[in-house]
């Protein structure tokens, strides 16, 4: 069973592989490897006491576990959809075990396994026996997170059938993200507080070990102490959990198609000829607002950025720190972009109606407007209320300048990414079991988050200069600059997206019908260019953000944290130039990577109306009959 499913999974992956998808996979895999290697590196640290290191390791395992629970929010449906096996006369448990083993064949699992090898490393530092105990612990831990992810997806899917449920899952997921990322805050706190020498409080140590992700560690530690009872109990506990999760999951596999919770529309659908809803764009705005209101998947996408932004900035209040409060609005403006990253993919093949009515422009502008109507008011309210609450007067121009730039920027960037990097998923009426199933948008969401930060650069330049020279005029000029940036980016990126939609519309529809790109991979980038682009993305990211922009900010603010920011280790006068060189280097590498990634694609057919009847792209790869 497992062998058949694994082969099936690999075949499906092979058949649905496109150049873009492969690139996302490689980039995602590389990031994963970086995290995994960092985890192993942690277990090798000689400079901190072993006990503290174990606490940290346990905390990192919690983060890995949270990552597995939250992952499907962007990862979408699994390759082997449970639907495929609904009519198979195979015992549910056998199917569940098979699917679990198939689940192990994935980059994510391999990367996580690599990270968990740190437990063996840690065990080896304690002795041979603990190292031996660590081996089964690693496998149990891996099976645990993979299963937990599957069960979480089923549970979220059931809960999210109603919109309130979807909102709840959104809140839950955002809370987990806040928890996982607050690890960074802990890390900074560690450097400042000297906990590395003194160790964490007992509460922390106990908590991270009480969570099942830490049981493997408990087993290893107990084995080192010779406490065999606890060691066995920890391993047995983990195994028991796995069995329980497997039982729960296999039970859900056998459940016949669950009825969708019916969401009702309104009886009244009068034509609106005036105001916001008039005309072509207006009618799309109205359709979009209704969809945002009625689709549980979209409800969840609204709540994730909202709660994430609030949670991230409110968390420091627990130690009476209001420093982050004003940044809630910019954070929401940036993260909300992730909700916009696959706006066409969400609607699936409904694109044919846009193509047949020739309303590409109205459709895209309507979607942008609806997005701004949903996220705009709440972001602006949060901007004003939270900044006022914080009492940090200096933050006003920053918040008022960055928020509109990022809001508008994301409306533009999201529209563009939705068109050029569309991620196909099952159509809404073909996924009645789980309203949360959708295409894999991990890459797109990440691109929007980090790219969204860049939209703040124009006002940030004025803000920085104003701060450095203590010039109120420059500071406040940033506000109209921010508004102008937002308006311009929404308009301009939207325009690029409209043009792309007009030219590539039929190809996008084909992709969503068949799950395959209409261009075959062979004509994508040459191999050498692909590697150069990949290197550009990777090294460029490292140079631009952690080695460039972050040190610049630290230098500006006068923060004395060196961490792994290279320029800050240099002698005083060299810090600024080296940080700027890093920014330039990173930008240049990004430039090369962007050029190779996007420009090298085979040229799309010419714009309609160019006179010629048809000059189609070569190499369609799958037939349409009976889709």
């Amino acid at each position: 069973m497992a062998g058949v499913l694994i082969r099936m999974k690999l075949v499906i992956i092979r058949h649905s592989m496109t150049g873009g998808k492969a690139a996302w996979m490689i980039i995602g895999g590389l990031f994963g490897i970086v995290f995994a290697v960092a985890t192993i590196w942690l277990s090798l640290l000689e400079s901190i006491p072993l006990a503290v290191m174990a606490d940290l390791l346990a905390a990192v395992y919690v983060m890995w576990m949270l990552g597995w629970i939250v992952g499907p929010v962007w990862g979408g449906s699994t390759v082997l959809r449970v639907d495929h096996f609904a009519l198979l006369s195979v015992p549910q448990r056998k199917l569940a075990v098979g699917l679990l083993f198939a689940g192990f064949v994935a980059i994510t699992t391999a990367v996580t396994f690599l990270a968990f090898v740190s437990l063996i490393v840690y065990g080896a530092r304690l002795g041979i026996v603990p190292a031996l105990v660590a081996v089964p612990a690693v496998f149990l831990q891996l099976a645990f997170v993979v299963l937990l992810s599957r069960v979480a997806m089923v549970v979220f899917g059931v809960v999210a059938k109603s919109r309130i449920g979807a909102a709840f899952t959104g809140v839950l997921i955002a809370a987990m993200m806040v928890l996982a990322q607050s690890g960074w805050m802990i890390a900074v706190a560690i450097q400042v507080s000297g906990v590395l020498n003194d160790g964490f409080g007992d509460g922390f140590s106990t908590t991270v070990r009480a969570i099942p992700s830490g049981w493997g560690l408990v087993a290893v530690e107990s084995a080192a102490r010779g406490d065999w009872g606890l060691a066995l109990a920890a391993l047995a506990g983990l195994a028991l959990l796995i069995v329980l999760l497997l039982l729960g999951w296999s039970h859900s596999l056998g459940t016949p198609r669950r009825a969708r919770i019916t969401i009702r529309g309104s009886r009244n659908a009068a034509v609106s000829s005036r105001g916001l809803f008039a005309g072509q764009t207006g009618t799309v705005v109205r359709k979009e607002l209704r969809t945002w209101w009625r689709d549980p998947l979209r409800t969840q996408t609204v709540f994730v950025p909202l709660v994430w932004a609030l949670g991230t900035t409110l968390l420091p209040l627990t130690f009476d720190e209001k420093l982050l409060l004003p940044w809630a609005a910019p954070a929401l403006a940036v993260m909300a972009g992730a909700a916009m990253c696959n706006i066409y993919g969400l609607d699936g093949t409904a694109l044919w109606m846009t193509l047949l009515t020739g309303s590409e422009r109205a459709d895209l502008r309507g979607r942008q407007l609806a997005y701004l109507l949903i996220f705009g008011p709440i972001t602006l309210v949060i901007a004003v209320v939270f900044t006022a609450w914080s009492g940090l007067a200096y933050a006003w121009p920053w918040v008022l300048a960055l928020t509109p730039a990022m809001l508008g920027g994301q409306a533009g960037l999201g529209a563009l990414i939705s068109v050029v990097a569309i991620a196909p998923g099952p159509d809404a009426h073909k996924r009645p079991d789980n309203p949360l199933e959708h295409g894999d948008t991990t890459g797109q969401a990440n691109l929007l988050f980090w790219g969204g930060l860049l939209t703040g650069i124009p006002p940030a330049t004025f803000l920085t200069l104003g701060t450095v020279y203590d010039n109120a005029f420059l500071l406040w000029t940033a506000v109209p600059v921010g508004v102008a940036t937002g308006v311009f980016l929404a308009w301009w990126l939207g325009r690029v997206a409209i043009r792309s939609l007009r030219v590539r519309g039929p190809e996008m529809l084909f992709l969503m019908r068949t799950g395959r790109n209409s261009k075959s991979i062979k004509i994508e980038m040459p191999k050498r260019d692909a590697w150069i682009a990949l290197t550009g993305w990777t090294l460029g990211s490292i140079a631009l953000f952690p080695q460039g922009i972050v040190p610049v900010i630290f230098l500006l603010v006068g923060l004395d944290v060196k961490s792994w920011f290279l320029p800050l280790y240099l002698a005083g006068p060299l810090q600024w130039p080296s940080a700027i060189v890093m920014v330039l280097l990173g930008s240049y590498l990004y430039y090369i990577a962007i050029k190779l990634t996007f420009a090298k694609k085979p040229s799309s057919p010419p714009d309609d109306g160019s006179g010629d009847s048809t000059v189609p792209p070569p190499g369609q790869s799958q037939k349409l009959e009976s889709v």
Binding site: I263, R264, G265, A269, S273, G358, D427, A428, H429, P506
Partner: protein
């Protein structure tokens, strides 16, 4: 977009042009020629049936004909207007019902029709009135507050056909319009289509239900393995036999395949 209404836009289609003309349409998917240099002419006012076994290339050909799939080569003209070089005008002349595609799923039937009507630039009062009529005719009035995503397959066909009819097109291109539609609804759909043709409209539909095509269509084309193997008035194509017999002869089904499956229910 200009207001486009059916019977009142007489000047748009030129009288002598066929409703739909496909010239050398060609489409290759990887190693498979899905549509192989297809030529077809659908005369104005005809009820045209495109028949063929599964995988014959019907959906691919129709998708290319209406502008939803880019052909490798070839042309498609609607009343003399090229679908790929003048899409706006061409698409205003036809109504399309694709098979199995999504729609704006979170709208009710009435909201969907209103949305499409506004997108097509039809006057507000006309949209409201036509929507009401279409909902009546399609018997979708009972499901006033049901979202399209919760529609049954038959209801999806009906609302799809309603969106295709809304702007009063001169040509209807329907991919498997009767698949999964119950007999009562099918009778209603047939009546609508027959009336549409009687009032001067043209219909192209694909199907593999021969009896239905024989009953409705006056002109047929048979596709097999991406090629048109026969086309013309129904009586000419089928000769003295039934359409089904002609079809089986034309598409060359290998009888040997029926010998297998000895293990089944034995």
């Amino acid at each position: 977009m200009d207001q486009v209404t059916s019977q009142d836009s007489e000047e748009l289609p030129r009288r002598e042009e066929p409703a739909l003309r496909l010239e050398g349409l060609h489409k290759v998917f990887a190693d498979n020629v899905a549509v192989d240099d297809v030529d077809l002419v659908v005369p104005q006012g005809s009820f045209f049936g495109l028949v063929g076994p599964n995988g014959a290339g019907k959906t691919t050909a129709l998708s290319m004909a209406v502008g939803l799939l880019r052909p490798d080569k070839g042309r498609s003209e609607v009343f003399g207007v090229d679908v790929w070089s003048d899409p706006v005008q061409a698409k205003s002349l036809m109504g399309v019902l694709p098979d199995g595609l999504a729609m704006p799923e979170r709208l009710t039937g009435r909201e969907l029709l209103t949305f499409i009507g506004q997108l097509r630039g039809i006057a507000d009062d006309v949209v409201a009135q036509r929507t009401q009529e279409l909902l009546n005719v399609m018997e979708l009035n009972d499901a006033e507050r049901t979202l399209v995503v919760d529609y049954s397959t038959g209801m999806r066909k009906k609302i799809g056909l309603a969106t295709a009819l809304l702007h009063g097109p001169r040509l209807l291109v329907l991919d498997e319009p009767f698949e999964a539609v119950d007999p009562v609804s099918a009778a209603a759909l047939k009546a609508i289509l027959v009336r549409f043709v009687a009032s001067g409209g043209s219909v192209v539909l694909s199907s593999h239900v021969m009896a239905l095509v024989e009953q409705l269509c006056d002109t047929v084309a048979v596709m097999a393995k991406g090629k048109v193997v026969a086309a013309g008035p129904l009586d000419e194509v089928r000769g003295d036999r039934t359409l089904e017999e002609t079809f089986v002869r034309l598409v060359d089904v290998e009888a040997g395949n029926r010998e297998g499956l000895s293990w089944l229910a034995s």
